[in-house]
């Protein structure tokens, strides 16, 4: 009996000493198979300040944050979190401890690092990219930049270095860190054309017409913006020269009826737009100077929102209401070989992928009162007509536009009657809001 009591007491002591969490421990592992390619694990070390100039710390903070954000947004890297990176800031290939970066917790395959200094009003940046698994020849990239020591230039240099890394590791596709997004904003009181950097920084107004301007489209050489604007003759296609800083003539865009939704061809020589000059909105094509007009479509029902195939420059996708609700169609640039892409619902605002393989558009698949779902962004493979939904149940999404690298989409999202510009990766992940003030619509990503 005494022995039994002793056993019971020792069992109670054991239970107190080794708490239940140990027995009921739970862990969560998320894994899978055939999930596609693992992204490159990339570490971005904080750059080493190489001079004691008082400007250096602020420029370095801007540079580090911009570089990390650019690489993270690129969509091809699995970034090493700053808290897991080795603490030392290596300033040169001699100082970096590659085995330390390759080991846990960083587990980096590649490391971007370097040194930065502000010196006599100049910002000097040395940047390297090293392969941690190649001890003999680790260096992949070495760059040096020398610019004016301003916050803007610190961001620009970070953009350029990020673009170099993305070009090297992304398989020959140029980075987009120096691209711009053009959009419509009500911040000045009327709907004017605005521009911003691809990450939402540096937002500024372009036009000051005091009217209503819609659907800006930047030319492939970044020199002109075509847009639709309400004037004395109704809706007209107008042309704004960024080089001259004023409107330039586009005579073909203002003849009677509504002229809307311009679209540049990829060589910058032609503009397609929708015009109601014959009574019914049809797709027209004009030269970039506004002459030599041709009508491509002639069906009953509205035809609007053309977009060129940037790869071949020989096809146009557009929205047609010839069967009732608007649907996406494609045709050759002479109006032949018309093919319907969407099978129903309410499909608008097509944008053609830079390599010609995909269309992105806004689609409400079950359109009608009480129907489930809403207006969302979709991507369709043109050859197979298979589609993928990118946004789900988060406001009404419209006006998608491809980035020049084909990995990102910028779009307009309306939540509770307030529209803002958002960007995401082309698989629907990494969604981020770019604009905050006022209402912002109809984004268009520049070509380069």
């Amino acid at each position: 009996m005494k022995a039994h009591l002793l056993l019971l007491v020792s069992a109670i002591i054991a239970a107190v000493l080794f708490p239940a969490s140990r027995i009921g421990a739970q862990d969560w592992v998320h894994t899978g198979t055939n999930l596609g390619n693992a992204r490159i694990r990339l570490g971005a070390a904080d750059f080493k300040p190489a001079a004691a100039d008082p400007q250096t710390p602020t420029l370095k903070a801007t540079f580090d944050a911009t570089l990390y954000s650019d690489l993270e947004t690129a969509g091809i890297f699995d970034m090493v979190s700053k808290s897991m990176a080795p603490q030392a800031a290596p300033g040169s290939p001699q100082e970096i401890n590659l085995p330390q970066w390759a080991a846990a917790p960083a587990n980096a395959e590649m490391v971007a690092f370097g040194a930065l200094k502000a010196d006599n009003g100049r910002l000097v940046v040395y940047g390297w990219l090293d392969d941690t698994r190649n001890a003999a020849n680790p260096q992949v990239l070495a760059k040096q930049y020398n610019e004016a020591a301003t916050q803007d230039m610190a961001r620009t240099v970070a953009h350029r270095f990020a673009d170099e890394i993305i070009l090297r590791l992304g398989g020959g596709i140029n980075g987009i860190a120096e691209t711009k997004i053009y959009f419509v904003s009500t911040r000045s009181g009327s709907k004017e054309i605005w521009a911003m950097d691809y990450d939402g920084q540096n937002q500024h107004q372009i036009t000051h017409l005091g009217s209503i301007s819609l659907s800006p489209r930047i030319s492939p050489d970044n020199s002109r913006i075509a847009f639709a604007s309400l004037g004395k003759e109704g809706w007209a296609i107008r042309m704004y020269s960024l080089d001259l800083g004023r409107l330039v003539s586009f005579p073909g865009g203002s003849a009677g009826g509504s002229n809307l939704s311009p679209a540049w061809s990829a060589d910058g020589t032609k503009i397609a737009f929708s015009s109601g000059r014959t009574g019914d909105p049809e797709i027209w094509v004009a030269d970039a100077g506004g002459g030599n007009l041709r009508k491509l479509t002639s069906f009953r029902g509205p035809d609007v929102s053309p977009t060129w195939n940037p790869r071949t420059n020989a096809q146009i996708a557009w929205v047609s209401g010839r069967t009732g609700l608007p649907q996406i169609y494609i045709m050759d640039q002479d109006g032949a070989n018309i093919q319907r892409m969407t099978d129903g619902g309410y499909a608008i605002s097509p944008s053609w992928h830079p390599n010609g393989q995909f269309l992105t558009f806004s689609w409400n698949r079950k359109y009608g009162p009480g129907a489930p779902g809403g207006q969302d962004i979709y991507v369709m493979d043109i050859a197979s007509k298979r589609w993928m939904q990118l946004t789900h149940d988060s406001g009404s999404c419209d006006f998608p536009s491809w980035s020049p690298d084909g990995r990102h989409i910028v779009f307009e999202r309306t939540i509770g009657r307030r529209s803002q510009i958002w960007a995401m990766l082309a698989d629907g992940t990494q969604q981020q809001q770019l604009t905050k003030g006022g209402e912002n619509f109809m984004p268009n990503w520049s070509w380069k």
């Binding site: 055939n34 596609g36 390619n37 490159i40 290939p93 590649m110 040395y126 392969d131 698994r133 190649n134 003999a136 020849n137 260096q139 992949v140 070495a142 760059k143 040096q144 930049y145 020398n146 610019e147 620009t156 070009l167 090297r168 590791l169 992304g170 398989g171 020959g172 596709i173 107004q205 372009i206 036009t207 000051h208 960024l242 080089d243 001259l244 800083g245 004023r246 390599n355």
Partner: protein, 267 residues
Amino acid sequence: MSNLLEHDENLERQLAGEPVAAPATGSLLLHLALAGAIVSYYIAGGFFKSNLWGGATSGGAIRVNLVSSAIPLPSDQPPNQNVLATEKPSPAPAPPTPKAAPKIDEQAIPIQGKHEQPKPQVAPRTPQKNPQPQQNNRAQYGEQAANNLPRSTTPQTSANGPVSVANGDFGTRFGWYVQIIKRKVDQNWNRQEVDHRTPIGAVATIYFKVDRSGIPSNFRIDRSSGSPTLDNSCLRAAQRVDTFGPLPPESNDRWLDVTYDCSNAPR
């Protein structure tokens, strides 16, 4: 008397001519004979051909010291175009004066909406990690500074010289580029195209060539997996790739031969 006699003898000797004719004739004959002998030797020697170059005899061979293994190439410095004879010609023109920074007029009212396009800044080239040795086998021509002249007579120290052979080590030097090839082809491989009757583990091997700009070409099936659908899906995956990005500038390869395995994994 005796004096007279001696006088007469002397006079007689002086008046009489010296006997030069006989020795002169002899000398002339001897020279003619010598000349004739030389001429007849060469005439006779022409009939008897002989090759006595070097041969087994000692001292016949010429000793050659190798100066440079490579053929002299044109100089890397351009020939001097100066028409004036100069004592010390300049090998290169004077560096251009640096451009003055554009003056910003602080009083001017900025034009609304006008933005100056930033000029693209060319980053200065940093030295390569694996610098390629300079070849010192350039020939000299034109009027150049004298310190260039001894270059062509620098003796070679070892048999191979300073050139390191770098063929076949692309995979170890540029592993990251190989990863890009693997990643991009895999991204474009549409596994639905493979017939479901294809055995698990079947491997199709394709070949393609990647040029310096990173564009693949010359696609063909290197080793068939036995399943035409697997072979073709693998080939199409590589064909869908537009570019892998330019080859690393440090690499000397003009193109890259790639063989790529597509293995049929369970779905």
